[in-house]
Structures are given as structure tokens and as C-alpha cells.
Amino acid sequence: MAKPISWIGQALLYGLFALIIGYFSGAPSYRHLPADQALIKLSFSHEGKLVSECRQRTAEELAKLAPNMRAPMDCPRGRSPVTVEIDLDGTPAYRHVAMPSGLSKDGASTVYHRFPVHAGEHRLAIRLNDDARATGFNYRREGLVDLKPGKVLVIDFNREAGGITLQ
């Protein structure tokens, strides 16, 4: 190929290279959620209550233990699974039983779930049980939420803050 034509060819191909790099570096644009939706995120990392109460060891039980292990109280390490239910506008939207983590099932139960909803006003009911010995749910929260388009609503659990929180 003659020199000038070769140079033009090179310029075009370098331009094509730059075009490919530049275009896919930011296009086509991506929209994570449609413009008329909002996002509810349920997330908690919470240690359920102990599966049973501590109990007094009997004298026979204590005698069977090594002298340095003779603690009078026997406290189980295992924690309760945490059950959570969410109703959205009166309809069950999510239910999950989060098992405690760890080999001895003595760690926190964790949940993460995201569900897009149409923006607007919604009635939200959240129920949570973290005690295997209790029936029903020992934490509840219910109310109307107004979700603007693109809004992220985080449902969390914080015992110190009173239980189920909405952010």
C-alpha cells in the first residue's frame, strides 16, 4: 500500500480502536431499575435467643466432670433460628427462616433480600421471631410507607433501637 494511503488507513484504524474503547467505556447506558420503581432491601445480622435456658447441674453430673470443668450452670450455646415475614399491601411478599451461623449454631442469623416495588404508598407489615421457645412473632412493625421513585427502603433489625427499623 502506498505510504499516504497506508497512513490514512492507520489513522482510521487507530480511530476505530479509540471509538470502540470510548464507546463501551460508558455506553450503552444501563438502568438498574425502571424509573417508576423503588427498592425494598431487607437485611439483618442478628443473634437469635438461646435455644434453651441455663439449668443447674445436679451433683451427679458435676461429679462426672473434671474438677476444673465443674461449672454449676449448664448453658447451651445454640441460638434460635430467626424467622421473618413481610406482607406488602396485605399480600405475603417474603418469608424466610435464617439459621444461626457457625458449627455450633451459635452465631448470628443473616438475611438479605431485595424486592423492587412500584413507587407510591404501600402498607408494609414485618414480623420477626428470634426465640425458638416462643410461638408467633415477638417483633412486629406495620405501617404505611411512601416510596418515591428510586427510593431505597432498608428494613433492618436492631434490638437496642427497639427491634425492626426502617431507614
Partner: protein, 534 residues
């Protein structure tokens, strides 16, 4: 027998790829074709990223509030310097990934992942992960809506593995959850992983001698200018600042690094894990899949090896070491082949000074040779071919099994020899052919920069031009030597080149009717041109 459909698809893809490569040859010339320097271009882009990154690191405020502000400041207030460097940093990162993927694709299509090449292939696979990790984390450092989306998506993807006691996504649930320490971690990963990458690159090229770690200057300059022009024309800008209480709006997604995140939301985290794990495993097991048996490796004949080190210097895969000669002569060495590293290309035989056909030994044995195509056999074949040449303008063609197929050439004035690689040709064979009755010699093989064994055509060209040992000794007057490189599939172009040589020889004969090839007058002077790049 029907061809395996996967192999057939690969052959079709290879054919398409080679067509593209040849289009680029027309503009760049074979030697500067970027497709033949993809690995070296990767190095170039890496160094651009590293150098521009030094400046960005100096101005980056590694805190939740400061990260966005400091990076955005560069683009707004210092667009002419820091802004350009930022854009260059980002575009070079995209280019780095792109050329790396193309490099991988090219080597795959050319079947360069088995045998002696398996080490380079296997050490290249983890580098892809390093590139992705450092690139994705780099995007988070700007802490705009794109960073917010990408960091959250990555956390959700990692959380799909049941290994974290507390889900990583909790680090991005609300503004309160994001801490300055997190940004220190981002910086640590963004700088630490590229350091691992450098280490990995060093491993990757360990078994290649004279590895091309920088592209030819013209190609490097052109690539840098292209990215610079792009940086000025389309400067990289931050999107709106991250706000974890809102879903990010339309995003200018970097599809090179983040394509898998929309894919995850379209499918699932498990599907993306299956994809990347499957792809990685496939790349790792590829060298172990059934493939053609390895060719016999080079073997040294100690009685004919004088320890000159030329094979050691010329081996493209560092498969030859020099050891003390068993005869115990002080200072004398002997070449030794490392079988696992040997590519069986025969370039060592071409470099051996003992490979000259002018030696008087009845049975020519050279210092280092290929058992499947010994130099002695080549001399016998050449002598037989020369004896059978008809007409006054007989031509000898030396080609290689990787380049244009010599079997397609026809003519009673022709004797052709296909070597394992063009680099296997000892230059003295060209002189031997010219003195033995041929009026012209045509040397061919893969296009410049495209040698299947990396350096074969380069060494041959240098040896025939007298720039490399063993060099071509002399020019029988009135004879013509021509070099023309043609890839496999370019047999028609090779035939056209041969016809052109025939015409040149006929014209030469008309001019020099009284001069026949028996004077030794200096280096060979090409009649028209020495080298033709397809």
C-alpha cells in the same frame, strides 16, 4: 471422516481472524500489525495505567466524603492535566483488558496452549482475574453512582457464596454503613493486585526468551496518541455522587469491566458464578485436553558441537542451556536441550555453524539437529532437487510447514523444501543451491511478526542479510535471492511471487548472458527487493 464441529468452528473463526489480521497488514505492514503485538500492547497499557495512577493517587482523598470530591475536582478544575491523566488511566485500563482478551483469543485460535506453551497459558489465566479485580475496585474509588451500583452488585455476587458470616452488602446499605476504612481497603486492593499482576506477568513470560514487553515504538506512539486523543475528545467524568438511599439512575456503565453485573440482575448471582468458574476451569484444563502428539525435540551431537552458543542465543523458548563439554576441555561448552521447553522448531539447527552443506563429510551431521528432518537429509534432498531442475532459470524454494503451503507450487524449473520453520534454514543452504545450479532462491514462511515460533522469520532475514550469525557468505554473480513472507492460505500470493521471480531471472539472464554463477564478489544484492511482506 467428518471434522469435529468444535474444531470446524475454531478453524472458521481462525480463518476470519486471519482475514482481519491481513486487512491490518495492508495499513500497518506485517511487522507493525497490532494484532501481532497484543501481549506487548498489554504491557504498554499497563505502564500507562501505572504512571497515570501515580498522579491520581497523589490527589485521591481516601475517605467517604473526600473520594468523590477529590476525583471530581480533577476533571472539573484541572481538566487539562489531572483530568486528561484520569481519562488516560481509565481508557488505558479498558484497552488493557481488551487487548488481553484478544491476546487470549488469538493464542487459542492458533492452538498455542498445549505442549511447551502450556506454562505460558496456565500462568496467563490468573492474570485475567487480577485485571478484573483491580479494574472493578478502581471504579469504586470515584464513589459516584456507578461506583455505588458496582460495589453493591459485587457484594451481592460475593454474598451468594456461603462464606461470609455477615453479608458484605451490609457495608453498602446506608450512608452510615460506609466507612473511611473501606476506602483504605479499596486503595490497598487497587494498588496491591496490580503488584501481583506484575509478578504474574513475570511468570507468564518466564519460558520465552526475548519476550516482547514493549511494542515497536511506532505502534506504541500510535496507541498512546489514540488514547490521548480519546481522553481529550471524551474526558471521563464522574456521575452524580453516591447516595445509598437512592437507586442509581441511568448509568454510563463501563461494559469492559462491569458487563457481568447487569448479567447477574438479568439471570442470577449463581449463573454468573457458574459462568466465571466454568470459563476459568475451561481455560485451565484446555492444555490437558487431547491434542496432537508432540514432535521430537532437538538433539545435540557432541562431536559436531563446538559450543559457539548460537543455538542458545537464538532459541525462542530458552530451551537450550550451555554445559561444560564432556571432553573436559577447559572453557569448551556443549549445548544441551531441555526437552520440556523445546518447541521442535529447528531454529537451533538453522543457527548451527556446523549445518553448512559445503562440508565434505559424506554424511552431514550437524551440532544440533531435528530427528524428524535432519540437516544431512536436507542436503541430500537439495542435491537431488538441483539435479532434477530443468531449464536455465531453475529456482529453489525454502518454506516452512506453518506458512504458505509449498505443495501448491508447480513447475519443472522448481525444487521446493518445506522446513519445520523458516528459521531452520542455515543460510549456507541458499548459497549451496545457487552454486549448485539454481538461478534463484526464494525463502518464504509466515508473515513478519507472525512466525509460529516467534523468531524464525526474523532470524532468517537477519542471517540472510548478513546481520546475524551464521550469515550468508557470498553472492554468486547473476543469481537472485528473494525473501517473501506468506501465511498459510496465501498460496496464490506465493505463486504470484514465484512468477515474478521467474520474470526477474529471465530479464537478468538477458542482461548477463556471459556471466554465470562462479564468481564470489560480496554480499548478495537483491535484484528487485529482498523482502516482501505479503
Amino acid at each position: 471422516m467428518t471434522m469435529n464441529p468444535i474444531r470446524s468452528m475454531c478453524n472458521s473463526a481462525l480463518s476470519t481472524y486471519q482475514s482481519i489480521e491481513h486487512v491490518f497488514d495492508r495499513a500497518f505492514g506485517a511487522a507493525l500489525n497490532p494484532w501481532r503485538h497484543l501481549g506487548a500492547l498489554g504491557f504498554l497499557f499497563f505502564w500507562i495505567i501505572a504512571i497515570t495512577g501515580l498522579y491520581l493517587y497523589a490527589v485521591l482523598d481516601t475517605s467517604v466524603d473526600g473520594a468523590y470530591r477529590s476525583i471530581n475536582w480533577l476533571s472539573r478544575e484541572q481538566w487539562y492535566a489531572g483530568g486528561v491523566l484520569r481519562s488516560l488511566h481509565r481508557y488505558a485500563a479498558d484497552a488493557f483488558l481488551l487487548v488481553t482478551l484478544l491476546h487470549l483469543l488469538r493464542e487459542f485460535l492458533l492452538g498455542r496452549y498445549t505442549g511447551f506453551r502450556h506454562f505460558s497459558w496456565l500462568t496467563g489465566v490468573p492474570l485475567l482475574w487480577f485485571i478484573y479485580i483491580s479494574g472493578v475496585v478502581g471504579i469504586w474509588l470515584r464513589w459516584d453512582q456507578l461506583a455505588q451500583f458496582s460495589a453493591g452488585a459485587t457484594a451481592e455476587w460475593l454474598d451468594a457464596l456461603p462464606v461470609f458470616a455477615t453479608p458484605l452488602i451490609r457495608n453498602y446499605l446506608s450512608a452510615n454503613a460506609v466507612s473511611d476504612r473501606l476506602f483504605s481497603l479499596f486503595v490497598f486492593v487497587h494498588i496491591g493486585v496490580p503488584l501481583l499482576l506484575v509478578f504474574g506477568l513475570w511468570f507468564h513470560i518466564q519460558r520465552i526468551s526475548r519476550a516482547e514487553v514493549f511494542p515497536p515504538p511506532a505502534l506504541a506512539a500510535g496507541s498512546l496518541l489514540a488514547l490521548l486523543a480519546l481522553s481529550l475528545a471524551l474526558p471521563v467524568a464522574s456521575q452524580a455522587a453516591a447516595d445509598l438511599s437512592l437507586v442509581p439512575g441511568p448509568l454510563a456503565l463501563d461494559w469492559y469491566y462491569l458487563f457481568w453485573q447487569p448479567l447477574m440482575y438479568t439471570t442470577s448471582a449463581g449463573a454468573v458464578w457458574a459462568f466465571v468458574t466454568g470459563a476459568t476451569l475451561l481455560l485451565f484444563v484446555l492444555p490437558a485436553l487431547p491434542h496432537a502428539a508432540a514432535s521430537p525435540v532437538a538433539e545435540v551431537h557432541p562431536d559436531n558441537c563446538n559450543g559457539c552458543r548460537r543455538c542458545f542465543e537464538d532459541c525462542p523458548y530458552a530451551a537450550i542451556v550451555m554445559v561444560p563439554h564432556p571432553a573436559g576441555i577447559p572453557g569448551r561448552q556443549l549445548a544441551q536441550v531441555i526437552p520440556n521447553l523445546c518447541a521442535s522448531c529447528g531454529i537451533c539447527a538453522g543457527s548451527c555453524p556446523s549445518s553448512t552443506p559445503f562440508r565434505s563429510a559424506t554424511e552431514l551431521v550437524t551440532g544440533i539437529d531435528m530427528p524428524q528432518m535432519p540437516i544431512g537429509g536436507l542436503r541430500r534432498d537439495l542435491e537431488r532437487g538441483l539435479a532434477q531442475l530443468e531449464g536455465e532459470n531453475g529456482i529453489v524454494v525454502f518454506g516452512c510447514d506453518q506458512g504458505a503451503n509449498l505443495a501448491s507450487l508447480a513447475g519443472k524449473d522448481l525444487a521446493s523444501f518445506s522446513l519445520i520453520c523458516a528459521g531452520m534454514l542455515p543460510p549456507s543452504f541458499a548459497e549451496y543451491a545457487l552454486r549448485g545450479g539454481a538461478a534463484g532462491v526464494l525463502v518464504t514462511g509466515c508473515r513478519a511478526g507472525g512466525c509460529a515460533f516467534r523468531l524464525g522469520n526474523r532470524w532468517t532475514e537477519e542471517r540472510l542479510a548478513g546481520m546475524r550469525e551464521p550469515h550468508l557468505r557470498a553472492n554468486p554473480a547473476g543469481k537472485v535471492l528473494r525473501i517473501a513472507w506468506f501465511d498459510r492460505g496465501e498460496e496464490a500470493e506465493l505463486a504470484a511471487e514465484l512468477d515474478d521471480l521467474r520474470q526477474t531471472l529471465a530479464a537478468e539472464r538477458l542482461r548477463n548472458t556471459n556471466q554465470i554463477a562462479n564468481s564470489i564478489a560480496g554480499p548478495i544484492t537483491p535484484s528487485t527487493r529482498l523482502t516482501v511482506h505479503g
